[in-house]
Amino acid sequence: MSVITIERKVLAKNDEIAGLNRELFRKNNIFAFNLVSSPGSGKTSILERTLEYFNGKVKVAVIEGDVQTDLDAQRIAKYNVPAVQIVTRGGCHLDAPLINDALKNIDLKSIQLLIIENVGNLVCPANYDLGETLKIVVASTTEGDDKPLKYPEMFRNASVLIINKIDLLPYVNCNIETLKHNALRINPRLIIFETSCATNAGITDWCDWIVKQIPPR
């Protein structure tokens, strides 16, 4: 019997390509964020409100990840920004090589902000570095206030929490203070925004924060 020592991360290849992606963002002064949430929490709607708010003043590109269909990319295309759809065909998350391929279809010199909308899933995307500047997690009020406790890794790995659908608070079983308390218990450094894509509440604060993250040229 002989033994060969390997000592390697199983996701080393992903992390290596994530490093290449990160270097591309750095070189081109791009703020890139990875938007994650469970399905239906409003990621694409937040994106739409964000693009409406920027109205061409911030140069944005979008990478849309979905298990099937290009419906989200069609929604984004209406805002006249470059949008690349990745269809994972059953894959539960985006990985760094998929992003690296998608970047070949985007003129990185002409953008300041890259938004990656991940597959709706609060489990697997937590473990895959895409090279993004940071992860932003969306939790909507219709999902209740215990999501951070149920999916701690995602809330631990995110830098920002957007609490969406706050217009529905009077009608749903969600205490927003409990939700924030639960999230901060998992990750005390979380920056929290409260938004509604129906009333546009909180969208200005959120977009102004994004603008501050964009590196100067």
Binding site: M1, S2, V3, I4, T5, I6, E7, R8, K9, V10, L11, A12, K13, G91, C92, H93, D95, N121, V123, C124, A126, N127, L149, K150, P152, E153, R156, L184, R185, I186, N187, P188
Partner: protein
Amino acid sequence: MHEMSVAQNILEIVREHVSAEEEYKIKTIRLKIGELAGIVPDSLLFCFDAVKNGSSLHNASLDVEYVSITAQCKHCGKTSPLDYGVFFCPACSNADITLLTGNELNIVEIELDD
């Protein structure tokens, strides 16, 4: 949910470390999987069996060491084990902690029949 692609990654990495004729001799692949790695060990074993079938590594099996979560508190300095999903120091309740173990998803070594 992504155990199938992880199983494929394991095969690829192992292949990079042995010659083509050694692939058939691999008996055991030792892994360390942390509780926070998002991997269900039973599901990974199932997927690994599926991907190794008919390949040069069909004699190989996985030996998984499950690693529990430990963290050091930046406030009181104590190192403690953490329960899954609890990210604060059990000694002083401070949430400013550094994870020491629990994120592993590593191939440690492989064992070959001579």
